[in-house]
Symmetry: C2
Subunit: 152 residues, 2 copies
C-alpha cells in the first residue's frame, strides 16, 4: 500500500535545487470508471486503464509506440495535464515537484511517497509550502485535467 | 491454461441448430505488442490490452461506456472483424460458431474450449468441417482483421 503526501507550493523552488526536469503530458480518454489515460513522459508513451475499487480493482499500464499515442491523444481534448516534473532527493526522501503548464500555469505541487501511514518526513526548507493538499480531490491530476485550477 | 480447438467450416450449420446469434464487432487500435482492441458484443462494449509474453504477460479487459467505444472505434479502421456468434451446447461441450461479415463474408469458424491438451471431443455431425485450423495463424481474429481472408 503506497502512501503519498501532496503539498501545494506558492512558487517553484530555486532552479539549482531542481536540476533538469522531464516533460510530461497526460490526457484522459475517459476520466470515470474505467479510467483510460495516455501519458507521455520524456520519450516514452503509456496507456493506462484503471477500473473498479477494492478487491475488484484492476490496473493495467503498458508502454505504447509513439504512433499509437498520437492516434489516442486527440481523444483526450478537454481533459489534459501538461507539466514538467523535477525529482529531488533530500534527507533520504524522494520529492517529485510538478510545474504545471497550459491552463494550469502557476500551479506547483510537491509529492512524497511514504512507506507507511505512520511515517513522517519534515518537508525541506527549500519547498515554499502553502498547505497539505493530500486529501483535497481538486488537486488530483484527473480533476485538474477535467475541471482546471481549483479556486482556493 | 485454456486449450482451444478451431475448425474451418464450409458453410453455416442449419439455423435450427444455431439458435439466435449475438452480433460482435471488434477492431484493433494496435495489433502488435501491446495489442489494443475494442469490442462490441451485443449491447456491451469492451477495451482489452494484451502485452508481453510468458511470465511478463499482462492482459486487461474492462467494460467501457458506449460513448467511449464510439470514440475509439474510428481508430480501428482497416483492422476490424464483424461477425455473428452462435453458441451451441452439444454432448457436454460448448461450441462457438462464428459467421463472418463484411470483407470476410463466406468465412465460418467453429471453436471449442477444452479443459486440457489431452482432452478430445469428436466434432458433431452437424458441423461441416473442412479442417482443423487451431495452429494456423491466418485464422486468428487479429490476422483476419488486418490481412483479410486467407488464400486457402
Amino acid at each position: 500500500m503506497e502512501v503519498e503526501r501532496k503539498y501545494l507550493l506558492s512558487t517553484l523552488p530555486p532552479r539549482e535545487i531542481l536540476g533538469r526536469g522531464v516533460a510530461i503530458r497526460q490526457g484522459y480518454i475517459d476520466a470515470a470508471d474505467p479510467e483510460i489515460r495516455v501519458r507521455q513522459k520524456g520519450s516514452a508513451f503509456f496507456l493506462t486503464i484503471k477500473s473498479g475499487g477494492g478487491l475488484r480493482r484492476q490496473e493495467c499500464e503498458v508502454q505504447i509506440p509513439p504512433a499509437t499515442f498520437e492516434k489516442l491523444w486527440p481523444l483526450t481534448e478537454g481533459a489534459r495535464v501538461v507539466k514538467t516534473r523535477y525529482t529531488v532527493e533530500h534527507g533520504g526522501a524522494r520529492w517529485e515537484i510538478d510545474e504545471f503548464g497550459g491552463t494550469l500555469a502557476g500551479l506547483y505541487l510537491a509529492e512524497l511517497e511514504l512507506a507507511s501511514e505512520s511515517e513522517t518526513v519534515a518537508p525541506p526548507a527549500f519547498l515554499p509550502i502553502v498547505r497539505d493538499v493530500t486529501d483535497d480531490p481538486s488537486y488530483k491530476n484527473k480533476t485538474l485535467a477535467t475541471r482546471g485550477l481549483p479556486r482556493s
